[in-house]
């Protein structure tokens, strides 16, 4: 099977305290279709930089990234967004506060597509959005609510729906449950897992939560100082305990 995404010798260098610092230090990674990879690592390990490099928000210093065998290293964020979607840690980063829930979903439905000078089709999509939110108690019947009026959990659920409303080839989750209370975090994680399974999404999820790291996904990667120091498949991962992972932090 061909990998969906290939990262070869990825290096990201920044200049800090009068010296060059490799935030990503020769990362090699292959992500296959339907992979659900969990990425663990301490603060500053390079997790978010890796996601930035994949989305194009931050270009690599050297190395290459291929999506479906096509070199996308020099493609900008807008062009990559057609295939790659991302949910951020901060619920405020993923939504437009002065737009309603339905307007946000409509905006996300054209992710990566040109924005034309033609009237948006909000009413044509309302039924679809109702269907999408009907089993979500946090967002049900809130299509016309302005996003700024939503709680953090509701906004993050909306961010997640926006990321998957148009099926992405690769879904990136950047500690997307970290800013939520334990119950909301668990509910969103359950929803995430369910949607990934049902839609057969390929996903790279960054987390600090060891329980989540063990429970979810079919592969586990640990990053430290910009390098992959551990890469486990599903079988190896299933034998892990939280204690085992602590030594990598």
């Amino acid at each position: 099977m061909k990998p969906l995404l290939e990262i070869n010798d990825a290096v990201k260098t920044i200049y800090n305290d009068n010296q060059n610092l490799n935030i990503l230090d020769g990362i090699n990674l292959e992500i296959y279709p339907k992979d659900f990879i969990v990425v663990l690592g301490t603060n500053g390990a390079g997790k978010s930089t890796l996601l930035d490099a994949i989305t194009g928000a931050n270009k690599l210093t050297s190395g290459e990234i291929k999506l479906n065998d096509e070199d996308i290293t020099q493609k900008n964020l807008a062009k990559r967004s057609r295939y790659i979607s991302r949910v951020y840690q901060d619920p405020k980063l993923g939504t437009s506060p002065r737009m309603t829930v339905a307007e946000n979903l409509l905006l996300a439905q054209r992710r990566g597509l040109p924005r034309r000078l033609r009237l948006r089709k909000l009413n044509d999509n309302i039924e679809k959005f109702k269907e999408l939110t009907k089993d979500l108690p946090t967002l049900d019947n809130r299509l016309n609510t302005f996003t700024e009026k939503l709680s953090g959990g509701q906004r993050q659920t909306l961010s997640f729906l926006m990321a998957i409303i148009q099926k992405p080839e690769l879904l990136l989750l950047d500690e997307h449950t970290a800013a939520l209370d334990p119950q909301t975090s668990q509910e969103l994680m359950e929803l995430t897992s369910k949607v990934i399974m049902e839609k057969e999404l390929t996903c790279l999820m960054v987390t600090h939560n060891l329980t989540e790291a063990i429970k979810y996904g079919n592969r586990l990667i640990v990053l430290k100082k910009g390098k992959i120091i551990l890469d486990l498949d599903k079988d190896q991962k299933s034998k892990l305990k939280e204690q085992d992972l602590l030594e990598y932090f």
Partner: protein, 296 residues
Amino acid sequence: MNLIISTISQGFIWAIMAIGLFITFRILDFPDMTVEGSFPLGAVTAVMLIQHGYSAEIALLVAFIFGNLAGFATAFMYTKLHIPSLLAGILTMTALYSVNLRILGKANMSLTKPNNIFNKYGLNKLPVNFNGIILGIIIIAIITFLLIIFLNTEKGQAVIATGDNEIMAASLGINTTVMKFIGIMVSNGIVALTGGMIAQQNGFADVNMGIGSIVIGLSAIIIGEVLYPDVPLSIRIITIVIGSIVYRLILMIVLQLGFNTNDLKLISAIILALCLALPTIREQFFRAFRNGVRSK
């Protein structure tokens, strides 16, 4: 009565400028100082063209286009050269002072030709100052209609999203740079158009007539928001018109109370500061009131 009608007439015309300002300040969340230069740019352009025999409509159209160019300069400095938003606007505003002097050839010029938008289409047959009200309503209706239609297009929604949350907009593939160009250019185009209209209404253009225009526009927006909070976008634009008229009426009352006209800018700034502080004052008042009730 004439004074009130004149004040309302001015309120309508200045509301057009405030709508332009609304695009940058509220939709794009971009504090654009360019307007202090693009407003007189529209005025001097319109007056010069009319003085050279062009029609008032052509003069306004060219003023609108020139305003767009001023907006382009600011947007270019901000998005391509990464100059901070405030500074980019101030640089364009400063540069426009010389440009306006170049266009006009001197600091001010009277409109001696009868060709004036306020005298056309039978507007001159209306009672005094009613031409400003009627023309203001027509232009506001056209701009509001076009603006609402635009904001309901995919591109318009992308402009709103860019101002609302640029990181999200970019991650959805929206070219936020283009959206900023569109917003800043159109905004300054409308501001310059208003400059052209005010010049025709007043019968002259002055390179200094932009000073304080940002305060006038912002006052209209803020008063509208204070009077009518939490309204949909289409209604928000109408509240700007109401805000503009209310602001002019407050100024008129203040001047009628005998204040020196030299203090006009000071009074304008105080009115805006009060309007901006009103939500905080109101909240503190209610908090003190609630605490008072509780302690009893």
